[in-house]
């Protein structure tokens, strides 16, 4: 079983996903289907941050 994860690299991809989702949300100001679905994606991205990105600071320090 793989127990070595490149947490920093995963965190970078999460950041990129977040950036894209935020850009989409900005485009959805008067587009409910775009805005609300993107907000849900952002909530899921936050769970990735809690699970991985937050710890990447700890593991790199």
């Amino acid at each position: 079983m793989n127990t070595n994860y490149d947490v920093g690299a995963i965190a970078a991809k999460i950041e990129s996903l977040k950036k894209t989702a935020m850009e989409l949300a900005d485009l959805g100001e008067d587009f409910p289907a775009l805005y609300r679905n993107t907000r849900r994606i952002l909530a899921a991205v936050k769970m990735l941050e809690i699970n991985i990105s937050d710890v990447s600071v700890t593991t790199s320090s």
């Binding site: 079983m1 769970m47 699970n51 937050d54 700890t58």
Partner: protein, 442 residues
């Protein structure tokens, strides 16, 4: 491959102790600042204590922050922004889920959640279910009311998230639920210990042996029973299933869980929560194993109505040994042992209702139900324990009574008036049981 991975999060769940502490501290500062900036209630509380976010530089600083009690939340609610009041940290438009506490200890407290908070709830539960062996191949039956109480709502969404199949047992009655479990060959279930035992009784009355059903994992909540060895054994024997405990609360989240190693303790999800244990008498903080105290808890990522140094009144103690499962999240020994406001002095002796449960459920010949009534005979405290004798064992009443008296004296240091009732005559409960009644103040 994914199925073989024992941890939901192999990074966080095996993180070295000092790294977990570092993560907790950084996250605590963030959530404290969030509460300070966004909640009028929290800001007023901290300003009164003269504490600002920049003052929090160590765990010692953190312990100077005032705790929040449930009664304080009751006082600020039912006001604008309606109905949550001044602890709400987001615009009302962002609240997508309402739940409330069960009201066991008084007026229910309302809990708002954003969608992110709701994702967080199911994330907490994903750790629990994965650690208890739930996998995408499971078909999970959830027999609860799907109403304003949080109960197994997040368990439902977490089971979805991990890829299992959900069978919601909502408004079905107990018999219909058992038939549905049988029909669909459900492999797992979530319920309170009281209901797990009640379902087994009902199944037998229907001519179905619960152990013949396909359920092999049961996750319990709401009561301490799944961490009381004798109650756990009754459930596991009845269903031929592994029974796992977890603890959570509406205003906190699902903060600890038993894993498949069943080492006699529950893991605190230390990546999501900061748990402190405080000596009830001295106020001293307890780090070492073997000393009981009440839990002060912070949910490190919950935003709409934050849970910052919440005085839960749950009595817990740290375990001394690490869990063989390899998780570095600390264990609390024996789960939640009781509540500071349930553990009461009777005849000058501290009595925990779960100690009585352990005795009753450990005695062959007694049914699962019981009731404890504490009242006064003149100035003297009196405890009456009502139990049921299993059908066909009535002739052994004297022997059972003698064993019950001995065990109660041994485990609780108290004498009881014992009442024996016919099997099936004491009240049954579908969700949280209320078996302990203290009538002395009335």
């Amino acid at each position: 491959m994914l199925k073989e991975q024992p941890y939901w999060n192999p990074v966080l769940e095996t993180l070295a102790k000092e790294k977990i502490r570092d993560l907790q501290f950084r996250k605590f500062r963030k959530i404290f600042e969030w509460g300070y900036e966004k909640s009028k209630f929290h800001r007023a509380l901290y300003e009164k204590a003269g504490i600002k976010p920049e003052d929090i530089r160590s765990f010692e600083d953190l312990r100077r922050i005032p705790t929040v009690e449930k009664s304080m939340m009751r006082d600020i609610q039912r006001k604008d922004p309606f109905p949550y009041g001044d602890a709400l940290c987001v615009p009302l438009d962002e609240v997508v889920e309402f739940r409330q506490t069960s009201g066991t200890t008084g007026q229910p407290v309302y809990q708002p959640d954003t969608w992110q908070d709701w994702e967080w709830w199911s994330e907490c539960w994903s750790y629990i279910l994965w650690a208890q062996g739930y996998r995408p191949s499971d078909r999970v039956f959830i027999p609860f009311g799907y109403n304003v109480f949080v109960a197994f709502w997040a368990g439902h969404y977490a089971a979805e998230k991990i890829g299992a199949e959900i069978v919601p047992g909502g408004v079905l009655d107990t018999q219909a639920r058992i038939l549905k479990i049988q029909e669909l060959q459900c492999t797992a279930m979530m319920a309170t210990p009281t209901y797990v035992l009640g379902m087994a009784d009902t199944a037998r009355k229907m001519g179905i042996d619960p152990s013949s059903l396909a359920v092999r994992k049961i996750t319990c909540a709401g009561e301490p029973g799944a961490s009381i060895p004798t109650t756990k054994k009754r459930m596991e024997d009845a269903w031929a299933a592994k029974v796992y405990d977890h603890a959570g609360a509406t205003e906190i989240g699902a903060w600890c869980f038993e894993c498949t190693a069943q080492s006699g303790g529950l893991h605190v999800n230390e990546a999501f929560f900061l748990v402190e244990i405080q000596d009830v008498e001295t106020g001293e903080y307890i780090e070492e194993p073997g000393r009981r105290g009440k839990m002060i808890i912070t949910a490190l990522d919950r935003q709409a109505q934050p849970c910052i140094r919440f005085d839960s009144k749950d009595i817990i103690e740290w375990a001394g040994e690490p869990c063989p499962c390899g998780r570095t999240f600390r264990l609390i020994k024996g789960g939640v042992i009781g509540r500071a406001d349930d553990i009461t002095k009777v005849k000058g002796v501290l009595l925990s209702p779960s100690a009585i449960e352990e005795v009753v459920r450990g005695l062959d010949g007694l049914g699962n139900e019981f009731e404890v009534i504490v009242d006064k005979d003149g100035d003297i405290d009196r405890i009456t324990l009502k139990v049921e004798i299993i059908k066909g064992r009535e002739g052994e009443r004297k022997q059972i009574e003698a064993r019950l008296k001995d065990q109660l004296r041994l485990k609780t240091n108290l004498g009881y008036i014992l009442e024996f009732h016919d099997h099936g005559s004491l009240p049954r409960y579908d969700v949280k049981a209320r078996r302990f009644k203290d009538l002395r103040g009335k």
